[in-house]
Each structure stands twice: as C-alpha cells, then as structure tokens.
C-alpha cells in the first residue's frame, strides 16, 4: 500500500519536475528577484547597489506631479477604465445576437471571432490605415455623419475631456475589435442558462428586454465577472499596440505612454532596472487590490445559480 503510494508520488514528481523547474527558474525567481531589485540601483552590468525606498519615493513624486509614472498611470487607467466595460458590453450584445438561430449563424460566429486570432502587430498596422486622419476609412465614414475628422493617432486629446477622439481612443477602438475571444466564452455561458427559465418568464408575460435583464445577465454574471478581471489585467498590461502606434516612445506628447511601455523604456533604454522593478511591483499591487475589490463586490453582484458560497 505504502510502496504503491510512494511509487505514484515518484511518478507524479517525475512528471511535475520539468514544469516546477521552469516555474522556479522563469517565474518564481524573477518574481522574488524583482522585488529585491526594486530597492537597488541596477543596470544589468554592475552589481546591484542598495538604495532603500528611493525608487518608490520617486514613483510617488511622479504620481503627484503627473509626469512620467503619473502620466503612465493616467493613460493606463483611462485605457483600462473605458476599454474593459465597453468590451464586456459589446461582447455580450454580440454574443446574444450570435446566439440567435438564424441562417449562417456559424459563419457570423467565425467572422466575429477571426479578428482575435490576427497578430497584434498586423492589427495595429491595419488600424493605423483605417484611422489615418486624411485617407482612413473611419474618418471618411464619419464625414457622412457630419462628425470629425479626428486625428486619431496624432493627437493627445481624449474624447472624455475634449469631445474629440485622440490616440488613446484610437487604441480603445482597436481593443474593441478583438472581443472575439470573449464572445466565445459568453456563447458557451449562454448555452448553459436553462431554457426552462426563459419559458417560465415568457409564460409570466416577460418581454425580451425583461428576460435579458432578469435571466440572461444574472446567468452570465459569473462569466462577466471572470472577463472583467481578465480584461482589467490585459488592458493594464497592454504593450504591443502602444509600442507600434507610438513608434515605441508613447507619442504624441506622451499620450500613449502606458505603464508597461514606461516600464519597458525605463528598463531597457534607460537601464534603470531597479526603478522598473519598483514600477512592476506597484503595478502588481494595484492589480491585486483591484482584483480583491472586485472579488469582494462580486458577492452581491454575481449570481452563482444556487452554488454554496
């Protein structure tokens, strides 16, 4: 019996070792090392030199002044706070529509999913063309609505502050184009909502909107919650699209300098690995806090269909 258990454990260990070794080497160690380095001055060549909380003080000062890290935090929050709810809303609406039993349903589902498998850099190039202020299709179409033209990727303006679309809004539009992954998750969740609930509601005289509000949305709420957290993390960590559209520097005038890009420039152009590590840890703490807050609020907002909690 014991021998059998030991044999099973040794087999388990053999199969787990490659993964554990990789995890220890490439995830756990850098994770701990970056925390230690956040208290040091380090440029990858010289030995790390302990500087105390200097980098964190600098981050606090920059946050207060709204420059560098402060600007990056603002840009990141703007991007995440608008893109995440919009993505969720759009994905739910599209998923509900793609769930309608119409001819060509599979084709529509494929079409909406396709953009999410396109490489990010290609998508950026495509959107740079689409949002070209003079020759782009988006401004061309907006002309018919007597709106615009907007300088999407050449203006630091934001729609919320000036009523005119700018570079961050362009990035949000690009982000919305890739909601295909989320649609798939919502479609799976929609299939999971018992049909009997809709029948009962219909018998009670509930219209489509009421059924959507009282059955579909609560039924989707665990998935919405999952996507909210994942979306928040993804949008706070977004890097490639900002790097491509801003020629790697957060142009124009720092309006696309998000946290991940600022971190990259500090670490690999300015060789301030300690400062970049401190920033990464602040980012980690912010995300953890936001996620914890969301989990706390989810108790009242997410419906787990009778699951014991």
């Amino acid at each position: 019996m014991v021998a059998d258990l030991l044999k099973r454990l040794s087999t388990l260990a053999i199969f787990l070792t490659p993964w554990l070794a990789g995890f220890a080497l490439f995830t756990a160690f850098p994770f701990v090392a970056s925390f230690a380095l956040s208290f040091c001055r380090y440029d990858m060549i010289s030995s790390p030199e302990f500087v105390g909380a200097q980098h964190y003080t600098r981050l606090a000062n920059e946050l207060a002044s709204g420059r560098a890290f402060g600007l990056a935090v603002f840009n990141t929050l703007y991007y995440a706070a608008i893109l995440t709810p919009l993505s969720i809303g759009l994905a739910i609406v599209l998923a509900v529509m793609l769930n309608w039993k119409v001819r060509g349903q599979a084709i529509f589902r494929t079409l909406f999913f396709l953009p999410s498998v396109a490489p990010v850099v290609s998508v950026c190039i495509l959107w740079l063309w689409l949002l070209d202020p003079r020759d782009g299709m988006v401004n061309y179409l907006l002309r018919y609505a007597w709106v615009g033209p907007f300088n999407w990727f050449t203006s630091p303006e934001t729609f919320l502050t000036s009523g005119r679309f700018g570079s961050k809004d362009g990035l949000i539009l690009m982000g919305l184009w890739g909601v295909g992954n989320w649609i798939v998750i919502y479609l799976a969740a929609l299939g999971d909502i018992p049909h009997s609930l809709y029948e009962a509601a219909e018998l009670d005289g509930a219209g489509p909107l009421r059924r959507f509000w009282h059955i579909t949305l609560p039924g989707l709420s665990p998935v919405i919650f999952f996507n909210l957290i994942m979306g928040l993390i993804q949008s706070v960590q977004a890097f490639t699209q900002m790097y491509v559209v801003s020629e790697g520097v957060g142009a124009p005038a720092g309006s696309t300098l998000v946290l991940s890009l600022h971190l990259f420039l500090s670490a690999f152009q300015d060789l301030e690995m300690g400062y970049a590590s401190a920033m990464a840890w602040v980012l980690f703490v912010l995300l953890m806090t936001a996620t914890a807050g969301l989990f706390y609020s989810s108790r009242r907002l997410v419906h787990y269909r009778g699951a014991v909690r």
Partner: protein, 459 residues
C-alpha cells in the same frame, strides 16, 4: 512494440537528424584548418545592406593573415540587453555595430573598452585626424573614443526644384526664404482640404533646428543640459508658429503628417503619388541620405512609363540670421568593443579595414559606394571608387559635403542620452500640438527634468 512506441521512436530519430544536419551545416561553414584568430562580430544589418556587410567581411577575410571575422546578424531589438547579458556572463562578442546614442551610457557603466586601450597613441591620433569632426563627436565621451564611427547619417533639406522654379523660387538659403516657400506652396483643394505643404516642421526635428539656430543642448564644461538655451527657444517658437504662418490649424498639420514615414508602403512624401502630377505632398522636406535611393528608383520607374518627373535637389538647412551654416543633427553607425572581448586587436584591424584607415581607403570607398553610405573621412570621399559613385548620384554630394562640416552635432554624449532624446522629441510635439504653449516655459520644464534625470544617474 505498439504503434505509439514506434511513433515516439520515429519522432526521436527525426529530431536527432534535424539537429545533427543543422549542426553539420554550421560546422561545415567553419574552416577547421584555419589557424587565424576568430573575431566575433555582431551586427543588425538586414536586407540589401546585409549583403554589403557580408562582402566587407569576405574581403577582410581574404586579405588578413592573422584574423578571421565571423559576422553574426542579430535582430536589432534589444541588442543592448543581449550585449549586457553576454558581458555579465563573461562571453561578449569582440565587436558590435550600433546606431543608438548609447555610447556615454554604456561607457559610464564600464561596458565598453576605449579605443585608447586597444590602439597605440599614434594610431588614436591618426584616427582622430582621419575622421570627420561629426564622426569623432559621435563616439567621444570623457575625452576618450569609446567607439569608431563607420557611417554618418546626415539630414538635409530636399526640395522639388521643378516646382520651386515654376514660380521663380530657388533652394532656400535663409530661414526667411524657407518661410516664404512654405507659405507660397501650401495649397488646398476646392473642398478646403490641404493638398500640399510648402514646408512644415516635423516635431522630431528640434535637435536639427536647435543646432541650426545656433543653440547648444549641452554644456560640456559644466556637464549640464542647456535645452532652454535662448537659441533653442527661438527654434521651438518658430516650429510651434508654423500653423500661424501657414494659416492652418495644428490639427491640419497633425492630420497631414500622419504616416509620412511610419507606415509601410508610404512613399517618400516629396515623391509623386499620382501618375499625372510629378509633384509630391511637400515642396521641401528634411530627410537623410538614404532617400536618394528612393528618388532614383522613382525617377527610373516614371521615366520608363513616360510619366512626368520633377527634378529634386538637396541643400543644407537654411539658418536664421546669426544661425549656423551647414549645421544640423547627425547620427550614424559605430563599432564598439565590449569590455572583456577576447580579440580586441582583431576587432581593431577589422574596424580600420572597414572605415579606410591604414591604407584601406579604397576598400572603404567600395563599401560606402555599394551601400550608399556616407564615409567618415575625406580621404575615403576622395578615393576614385567613391568619386565614381558621386558622379552617378550627384544628390549624394550635398550630404557628403555636410558630413565634413564642423557644425554637425549628435545628441549630447552623456549618460541618460536616450531619456534626453525622448524629452526633446516630446517637447517638439508639445509645441507643434499647442500653438498657445510658451516655448520658453516648455523648454525650461523639459530642461529641468533632463537635468534632474542626469543628476540622478550621476549619483
């Protein structure tokens, strides 16, 4: 034996075979009986430039009896990180080619071997005398040469000669003349959309205009940034005032400029885009010598299709009164020898061969002519091989003349130069985007930030 096991064994054999063949191919390229010392050379060249590099290496290997260079093409992205890791790991290459303004940063961190430690004092003196002043400035930090410049990138003003002459204008020789051309040739169509700018400053060109206006971004003596120099303030004010002078909005300028250079497939904006008109989107534009190739290709393509063509000229950036003649911002490619390189002497021999020092000027002239690169020395320019190239590409001559000028300056050689560079570009953008912004205030704030950053690095 089950079918699954057979599959596993077949996969294993296939993997071993693939690895074996690739190793054999790699080994077969290395002559095992070559007694010469091997010099490992990292570079980032791609496309047709890579062929030129490989040809230089081949010619060096054919003539040098002591050293043999092995060129390793590396992706340009994060080359610096790879270098640092190789230095930390004790296995750096012997030579690297770079083009970012990183010399001072890396030298300060002890990542580079000064040329003074590789070459004799007489050789260093000869090298300094051999190079154009701009080529020395690009690699000099703390009064030492931490690299050897092997090609200069010069910016000048391209102008559409045919278009200008059609209204009695010539290439501008003063800022006032440039302003007149900018206004005269800025045109709108019947819908009010701008179809051409005579000239509009690019936010990234504050480096160039600041120098042309006579400004100095850095005080070498006190080791402090001086981006708020009065001449630079004037340059920024002039850049930010473009929309007022041209009677357009800043939004018009931003919309017009989008994708001038960044998008794939967008042609050099001075070149025609329509089959009917020989003129492009600008009458004047600043760009580097590599555009000569684009102009020649466009010219040949259009003449072969019997389409109208315009004559393009090149001139120096016109200064304001009291500004600098033949001035501008320069960058370029340079060799560096990492700290801990095993074959620094071999690297030095290869550098001399490439740039044309020590009697190699004919080889260097051939290299520059093949790549369309600007030599780093007048001796190479004067070589017959390069003179023949200039006869074929007369536009190139203006860039070569500018390369020899005393007034071509790179980004200041100071630790923190990448940050300095980003801040200067960003202040240019801010001035171009907000015409009400005070140039003086913008530059004072920018200079304070740069100063603060550099001081932090010094600590």
């Amino acid at each position: 034996m089950t079918l699954r096991n057979v599959g596993f064994i077949a996969l294993f054999i296939a993997a071993v075979a693939i690895v074996g063949v690739s190793q054999w191919r790699q080994l077969s390229q290395q002559p095992i009986d070559d007694p010469r010392e091997e010099v490992i050379f990292w570079h980032f060249w791609g496309g047709r430039d890579r062929q030129v590099v490989e040809d230089v290496v081949r010619r060096f290997n054919e003539t040098n009896k002591q050293y043999r260079v092995r060129a390793v093409a590396m992706p340009g992205n994060n080359l610096d990180v790879k270098l640092f890791l190789s230095i930390s790991g004790g296995a750096p290459p012997d030579l690297i080619n770079q083009d970012d303004p990183l010399i001072a940063d890396w030298a300060e961190r002890g990542a580079l071997t000064p040329i003074e430690e590789i070459a004799s004092p007489a050789e260093v003196a000869e090298l300094r005398e051999f190079l154009f002043p701009a080529a020395v400035r690009l690699t000099e930090y703390d009064q030492k040469l931490y690299g050897v410049c092997n090609g200069l990138d010069i910016r000048a003003l391209y102008y559409n000669k045919t278009l200008l002459q059609s209204r009695g204008y010539e290439a501008p020789t003063s800022l006032e003349a440039l302003n007149n051309i900018a206004t005269e040739f800025t045109e709108r169509n019947s819908e009010g959309r701008i179809t051409r700018f005579g000239y509009v400053p690019d936010a990234r060109r504050l480096w160039a205009w600041g120098i042309v206006f006579g400004g100095d971004f850095y005080d070498e003596d006190s080791q402090t940034p001086t981006a708020d120099d009065e001449r630079i303030v004037q340059a920024l004010r002039w850049m930010g005032g473009a929309s007022n002078r041209l009677g357009v909005t800043t939004s018009d300028i931003q919309a017009f400029r989008q994708g001038d250079q960044s998008l794939p497939g967008k042609p050099f904006p001075l070149l025609p885009i329509s089959p009917d008109s020989p003129h492009g989107r600008y009458a004047l534009i600043i760009d580097g010598q590599w555009r000569v190739r684009d102009i020649m290709e466009s010219y040949e393509s259009r003449t072969s299709q019997n389409l109208p063509v315009a004559e393009i000229g090149v001139c120096p950036l016109p200064p304001p009164q009291g500004g600098e003649q033949n001035a501008g911002w320069v960058n370029g490619n340079y060799f560096i020898v990492p700290r801990g390189a095993r074959q620094s002497q071999g690297a030095w021999e290869f550098m001399k061969f490439w740039i044309g020092l020590d009697g190699h000027q004919h080889q260097a002239a051939k290299t520059c002519a093949a790549g369309g690169w600007i030599p780093v020395s007048q001796r190479v320019v004067d070589d017959e091989a390069f003179q023949n190239f200039l006869n074929e590409q007369p536009l190139f001559g203006e860039f070569v003349a500018l390369a020899a000028s005393e007034n071509q300056h790179p980004i200041p050689m100071t630790p923190g130069a990448p940050y300095f560079n980003r801040e200067i570009k960003q202040v240019g953008e801010s001035a171009m985007l907000h015409r009400e912004a005070s140039a003086e205030k913008l530059l004072t704030e920018t200079n304070d930030r740069i100063k603060h950053h550099l001081e932090r690095l010094k600590k």
